[in-house]
């Protein structure tokens, strides 16, 4: 079970998997947040608050819970599973466009503008900078560090990533 951290790399890898195994299925799960538990909320929550030291994490948790869209590309025979999770309404259109192309069995290439950061531990730091510069995706620096281990599928995306990144920086 691998979570990919950007939509294009998810679509790209899924397209490769579908090409290799046409019986691959894609599940999109739209899940609403749990009902706010009124009992739990009445408790004094001051005890836990001061422990949050990273500003990003604090602001993330303070926002009201939103629905989450989880995509899963799964090939039952081999057990290969690719996942992507998002909560952005803006991505739904792009996502379904991608799913349509995947349904047709098209190969989705990594676009030149988006950062190709799959399985590249060395470019993780650069990736953070990149996000600030391009302002394309949400701040998910913590995720990236976690996601640094190489993805399931091997592609040439990592190699070509460097040149593409420079392009995006302008």
């Amino acid at each position: 079970m691998t979570y990919l951290d950007d939509l294009h790399s998810y679509l790209h890898h899924s397209s490769l998997l579908i090409q290799a195994y046409p019986s691959t299925r894609i599940t999109t799960k739209y899940s609403l947040p749990r009902k706010p538990n009124t009992k739990a909320r009445s408790k004094p929550k001051d005890a836990t608050v001061p422990t949050t030291d990273t500003a990003a994490a604090a602001s993330q948790s303070k926002r009201e819970p939103s629905a989450v869209l989880t995509l899963k590309t799964y090939h039952p025979d081999s057990g290969i599973c690719l996942k992507y999770r998002t909560d952005k309404a803006a991505e739904v259109g792009r996502l379904l466009g991608g799913l349509g192309r995947l349904a047709k069995g098209e190969i989705i290439e990594m676009p030149a503008t988006s950062p190709a950061q799959i399985g590249s531990t060395t470019t993780a730091a650069e990736g953070d900078k990149m996000e600030v510069d391009s302002g394309m995706s949400a701040p998910k620096a913590e995720d990236k560090v976690v996601m640094a281990p190489p993805a399931v599928t091997q592609t040439g995306g990592g190699g070509g990533g460097k040149g593409k990144k420079k392009k995006g920086k302008k």
Binding site: Y30, L32, P33, D87, A89, L96, G100, L102
Partner: protein, 140 residues
């Protein structure tokens, strides 16, 4: 075993209802699955990599069938919501048209997702300017 398959239009209509009813409950999930429909006859030995001619699209709210929820307690907790399960078969020729409408249904139905945050975008733009100035100074 075969499941009831509805027409594409019917599927989209019922998916709209499913999404809105899930929202009105303010709780629950909707699962959408797509996979190529590979004919089982005479195709079991040679798994040809040629693109399939039909795509099976399913939608469900992920609940159990009524007879599987044995305890009446759990039923009341789920407020007796029935399982909803839809399936449709889309011809490859109709894929573009179907997915355009499917995307519209999903965009409208998935209201719980985060909208684009304009305040944050502004902050980001500021940070971008600052960052660029800093790197420029460092480079010079």
């Amino acid at each position: 075993m075969s499941q009831e398959r509805v027409s594409n239009d019917e599927f989209l209509n019922r998916l709209t209802v499913l999404l809105s009813s899930t929202h009105s409950e303010s709780h629950g999930s909707v699962y959408l699955t797509q996979k190529p429909l590979i004919p089982t006859t005479a195709d079991s030995s040679s798994s040809s990599p040629s693109p399939p001619s039909q795509i099976l699209v399913r939608a469900t709210n992920g609940l159990s069938k009524p007879h599987r929820t044995a305890k009446p307690k759990s039923k009341s907790a789920d407020s007796g919501k029935p399982k909803v399960k839809l399936a449709t078969v889309v011809e490859v020729a109709d894929l573009d048209a179907f997915y355009a409408r499917y995307a519209e249904v999903c965009k409208k139905g998935m209201e719980g997702l985060r909208k684009r945050d304009k305040k944050k975008a502004k902050e980001k733009a500021k940070a971008k300017k600052k960052g660029k100035a800093a790197t420029g100074a460092a480079g010079a």
